[in-house]
Symmetry: C2
Subunit: 632 residues, 2 copies
């Protein structure tokens, strides 16, 4: 095909993308203007620039594409119709209950790797894919990400920009769609393209400012980007929202709205462009262009369910080991057996002990610096297509920084794992800003998540191993202080299975205490104090807080007068207390849960002082149990 014909074919394709975006949004009460601004870009990407197999969208050798501005979903679906994976009829099912063509893209669709729709996240996901492509797969696939100008206000975009240039991701191309208009008003920079260029260049990117509706300019810019070495590339595209729609282009108040009464005229205008070419003699050329094939240099991987610690944990009963240290040990051991187990950290690796993997296998560690949102987004990108098993760590408190990314990770069906260290007041003197007191609430609320709260080093190593092999988001909560090893090296652990760590026998236990991490040891101390007064309690280590062991709790509660005491180095809402209350309700057991938890913003002090002050230590448990039993 001649260059002229190629240009013409792309122009027709862009027009078809607009038409199909309008038809789909007309049928579903949504709007096509955010699609129109990127129609030429999408046509070039899907029919000329990207190398992929249209009928095998998750092929590992394919170039990757992320539509960070997920509200332009209709044009993404139209592009996949253009390359033959969907039909034009499929497009009309947009946003219907039984269609996977949702309002924003999700991986229910074979051609979507990460869900988008919460803005400013796609570039981090794309950077994770590019990092894996360049440094782990060492394959030739490239990664393309379209970002809206409105969402470029999100700081996570700039975190991703800094990350991508620091790591020299020259296989990553960002297309910034500067269409000037946000949802409710113009963007801060409107069409000030030079400021975008300065920002991008100062963040270490190769930047090109182009007319985003000029197909030739787009082709040239992609070609230039391909030649740039050691830097990611950005195409800063001047576009118009609603481009090509008469009376709508570049006008306010059209965000997300159907064209309504104007639709027929706009469609007529666009369809006229298709019927006759500029030369007056060309048909619409549909199907004349097909995406170039990728270089087949990346093999499929199947990781989840396939990795194991090389040997049982290497601790002795009674050893004093912080669970955060055991986390690092397990990560290093798992990483040595599988070169696709990787760790990401945010300049806390010497506190979370993810440094252990870095020291053992430097190529399996990604330093993300103090930018947790991007770190989580990169982790989710790394997990795509099971190319790696990522473990993302920082203080549990600081994972709250990325709640939106983690929430979207669930929509993305990610298998990314998270580890939060420095849980609770037992960190001591650093004070409340550093104490994870909301992390269990956060991770429990994530759809389909698994929440590990291992209490000793053996349990922690098994939690890491289980997390690596479990689908969906896993969270492992670790603590700062040293705690005794209470499980033998050959102890078996499973998701949803707790342990009775102390009992006097089913007939004589008077109350059940559920505790984890530092509070488990306080519960054991309290049990000794109580036993000295002839009060026997059963102590349960739940191991996973979600799912929690309903059967174990049900039996315990039935045998101990329907009452439970929960003790947690966490706030009273959303943690162990809520989980146990919910489990017993689910089991249909009438019950009362007495919660011991941190009930106010704590302060600095020693770990022991703080656990005492906030009433989660052995003394508080002892008094609570005595009080409950006295009232019977």
């Amino acid at each position: 095909m001649s260059d002229y014909e190629t240009l013409l074919a792309l122009e027709y394709a862009a027009t078809r993308l607009r038409i199909n975006s309008i038809k789909a949004t007309d049928a579903s009460k949504s709007g096509p203007t955010s699609c129109a601004s990127i129609s030429e870009i999408m046509a070039v990407l899907f029919l000329k620039e990207m190398r992929f197999k249209p009928k095998d969208p998750r092929n590992p050798s394919n170039d990757r594409f992320v539509l960070s501005k997920g509200h332009a979903a209709p044009v993404l679906y139209a592009a996949w119709a253009e390359v033959g994976l969907l039909t034009e009829g499929d497009l009309l099912t947009l946003r219907k209950l039984n269609s996977d063509l949702e309002g924003h893209p999700t991986p229910r669709l074979s051609f979507v790797d990460v869900a988008t729709g919460s803005l400013g996240q796609g570039l981090s996901n794309a950077a994770g894919m590019a990092y894996v492509g360049k440094y782990i797969d060492r394959a030739s696939y490239r990664v393309y990400c379209i970002v809206g100008d409105g969402e470029s206000a999100e700081g996570s975009i700039w975190e991703a920009m800094a990350f991508s240039s620091f790591h020299k991701l020259d296989n990553l191309v960002m297309i910034l769609d500067v269409n000037r208009l946000g949802q409710s008003q113009a963007t801060p920079l409107q069409h000030d393209l030079e400021t975008y260029r300065k920002r991008a260049e100062s963040f270490g990117w190769h930047a090109q400012v182009i007319d985003g509706h000029d197909i030739k300019a787009i082709l040239t810019a992609f070609s230039t980007a391909r030649s740039v070495k050691d830097k990611p590339s950005i195409l800063i595209c001047k576009t118009y929202k609603g481009a090509g729609f008469p009376e709508i282009e570049n006008e306010e108040d059209w965000h997300g709205k159907p064209l309504g009464l104007k639709s027929a005229a706009v469609l007529q205008h666009l369809e006229a462009k298709l019927r006759v070419g500029p030369a007056g003699d060309v048909a619409d050329m549909k199907g004349k262009l097909v995406p170039p094939a990728p270089k087949d240099d990346c093999k499929p991987t199947k990781l989840i369910g396939c990795v194991a610690l090389p040997t049982p944990p290497q601790y002795k009963l009674g050893d004093q080991v912080a669970t955060r240290l055991a986390y690092g040990n397990a990560l290093a051991r798992l990483g040595e057996t599988c070169d696709r187990v990787i760790a990401l950290d945010g300049d806390t690796k010497n506190s979370t002990f993810s440094i252990k993997l870095m020291e053992a296998k430097p190529d399996q560690f990604i330093e993300c610096f103090i930018a947790e949102q991007n770190m989580v987004g990169v982790g989710i990108g790394c997990a795509v297509r099971q190319r790696t098993i990522p473990f993302v760590s920082t203080f549990a408190a600081f994972l709250t920084r990325a709640f939106d990314q983690i929430r979207m990770g669930a929509v993305s069906q990610t298998n990314c794992n998270f580890a939060g260290s420095h849980a609770g007041v037992s960190i001591g003197e650093d004070g409340p800003s550093q104490m994870g007191l909301e992390d269990l609430a956060m991770f429990r609320s994530i759809m389909g998540s698994t929440v590990f709260y291992p209490s000793d080093a053996v349990a922690t190593e098994r939690a890491v191993e289980l997390a690596a092999n479990t689908l969906g988001i896993c969270f492992i909560r670790t603590g700062r202080p040293n705690c005794p090893v209470i499980y033998r090296a050959d102890e078996q652990f499973a998701v949803g299975h707790g342990k009775v760590v102390r009992t006097s026998g089913s007939a004589t236990d008077q109350l059940t205490v559920v505790a984890a991490g530092v509070t488990l040891f306080e519960a054991l101390k309290a049990a000794d104090l109580l036993a000295a007064e002839n009060i026997q309690v059963r102590v349960i280590d739940p191991f996973t807080i979600k799912p929690i062991d309903v059967e174990l709790l049900k039996t315990a509660v039935q045998e101990t007068c329907s009452q439970v005491v929960t003790v947690e180095d966490h706030g009273p809402e959303g943690g162990i207390g809520d989980a146990v209350d919910g489990a017993l309700s689910q089991a249909g057991i009438s019950h009362i849960v007495h919660r011991l938890a941190v009930r106010e913003v704590p302060r600095s002090g020693t770990p022991a002082e703080l656990m005492h002050k906030y009433r989660i230590d052995a003394n508080a448990i002892f008094l609570a149990v005595k009080n409950i039993i006295a009232k019977r």
Copy 2:
């Protein structure tokens, strides 16, 4: 005092700041190297540049100071000793249980407006204070914020940079402490000051690169910054971590660590500098410099507890009104009665309806664009010293973006209010990325929070009024669809007080149903269906989910066989179900809570289809109640 003497006095003060930082950290197992890099900057700020009353730190006319790099707290405390608010003896109580000199600064101290310690948040807080100073107080106070180079990797810093230049905050000065070293390794840019300059300039700031240990240069730079109009200023300071500490300065692995065995030698070195001046003839000049007084042009305000809607809500029973619209109406009405009620939104004002206040009172609205972390930080800054009552709104789902900022808001003792619209699957076709399904879990987990979930327009207006007058963090959850008005205009609402919206009498109700928002109306429909089968249920609208009305629930449950059904357009963890389970446990009532909630990642569809599919509609409630009663 001559210029020479001033320089000398500042140099001595900087040395004293170092000495006191070492002594305090020696006594508390923490480290002084992050203090040493900013000792000259702190000396100049506290003794020469900032205008404030040292014995009246919260005076509204004082210049504001935010130490975003909160881990340098010891030098902040030392600075307040230098100006006479603390004694040097006080400094040795650092990080002790009974001292307010915590590991990171909190507003337990009179001279701290916002807690810091989770990095990258202080600049947003400072921007909020500067916005209020320039546009609301219209006073002459200025705002200074020290940011660490490591934390400048946080995207929230760049969100704040964009915000501050867009709003022309020329009363804001950021000091970037480029000391090259993070916690676990060197920062990405190390001492590449020119790249920092390019980034800052591209984000619209007036930038000066200086030697951060050169007092004369610091003085000159602050003076230049004072003359800059319509732009915020940044001083990009080349510094050394551990500056002035022999064998420690600019070395790795000293982050947060006490000097230990090296301490004595370093102290001796520094104290020698104090004993004899460079001229050989000067004492240490302590107390010779005092901070200049502020211009008294800002009056104290007392807002909380003092604002009220001008008239009762203006709806009729049966009107169809979305609670998000009622939120906007109430905000506008409250804003018209009090010019310090302000709204902040992230380009969703036409969806959350905060636009109503913007239209009524444009000066009381701050557009924050799509940058939720900064928006929340700015809101917290605006609330400081009760200068304003801010309401921060976006989709409930997107408030998760700022969980860390909200969490830190609780440590900051903020009175900032939050409103999240588009709760749950009842938003319909936009899909899971836009649906708030974790927001109740998030806000319940915040220490000291109040969580409103009003079900109709009347309740929503009262929730806004109550939130404005309630100390601590308040959250108001609103919905997208229209719902009927069920409360009369004169209905009274209070925090922690729910309503029985349907009962057949205490003796005949067979089960209690707790629901809010869209599900309350489904519960009422289900009650009709059940009544047709001679099953009577009590329906409760909790109004606030935290605190929840324990007494009302206790009575209801005691009268309806100890069982409750909760129905929520939210995930099953952390929301109404957990709150009710917890309340009944707290009340000491043996109970079972049957949760109806959204149990998987939802998809696109109509609101009715989705509420049906995820089993939170009238039909699901009807079946659940019948099933429970059949088992009795």
